[in-house]
């Protein structure tokens, strides 16, 4: 499985959505199901999957599906 597939799979699992829903519009602001519980679950699964630990600031500003890819690059995970 590629990193992108792993990344997408985590989003689909946390939010219970189909792959088609993922994209630039998938943001904290626009997705009602993206509450604080879902946010922490997302962060936990990403940390476990990619064996990283986010900085607190990055957890706070994760914000969107696309921005998350950029943040992961900071931790050496290329999506």
């Amino acid at each position: 499985m590629t990193n992108l597939e792993k990344y997408d799979h985590i989003f689909m699992d946390v939010f219970g959505i189909d792959h088609a829903a993922l994209g630039e519009a998938f943001t904290f602001k626009d997705v009602p199901a993206w509450d604080s519980v879902a946010h922490l679950s997302l962060i936990s699964q990403l940390e476990d999957e990619f064996d990283i630990m986010f900085e607190a600031e990055d957890i706070l500003h994760y914000g969107s599906y696309e921005n998350g890819k950029k943040l992961l690059a900071k931790y050496g995970v290329e999506i």
Partner: protein, 247 residues
Amino acid sequence: MLTGKVCIVTGASRGIGKAIAQVFAQNGAVVYGTATREGSIEAWADGFDPQSGGCIRSLYFDITDEAACREAVMRVKKETGRLDGLVNNAGVEFNELIGMISREHMEKMFEVNVYGTINMLQLASRIMGRQENGGSIVNITSMTALKGNRGQMVYSATKGAVISLTRSAAKELAPKKIRVNAIAPGLTNTDMMKQADPKMLEGRIGNICMGRLAEPEDIAKACLYMISDMSSYVSGQVLAVDGCTIM
């Protein structure tokens, strides 16, 4: 009591932290002792045989450096796959009378004693919260936080903050099976105490009903209880280990 458990003990190069690391390893834990000065853990751990399957490993970083803390906790997770116990023991103490309190010392004490403790607690709880059995965190506070003491206004304030954060963290983390407790040592027989004025010391020992200073091992054994499953239903508590002191 700690067989199979992985623990971090901060400030483990000497005194109470060293004793905690030793007692944990003697009880079967894989212990990561932390310190800022490179080589200061090996200085005592190299000749130490816990004879229990436990072991001591070293981590050198400054607990006020968030990135360094994260790196250290990640290393523990990568090497062992888990983290069961954290003892936030590292601390600094400057005793100054009111009117002579240095801003630099005040900031240093809050940085290490409070912010450093929060850094480690946050990171450890993120690992523990994903484990089936959660984990246990012990924060070392001080009897001065409970009773106050002359010349220790700022130090006691930092340790008071440690008690407050312990109680709040215990409430927030209980659903994740993470217990958070504090231990408040009384006067303890560390290197620092050996430099104290003998007359002053004699007077203060006179206030201890048990008639002696605490040994670092006395504090370590209380930590052992709090980290072990023996205290599985205890959280948000402050345990005084002070030989029944009248301050």
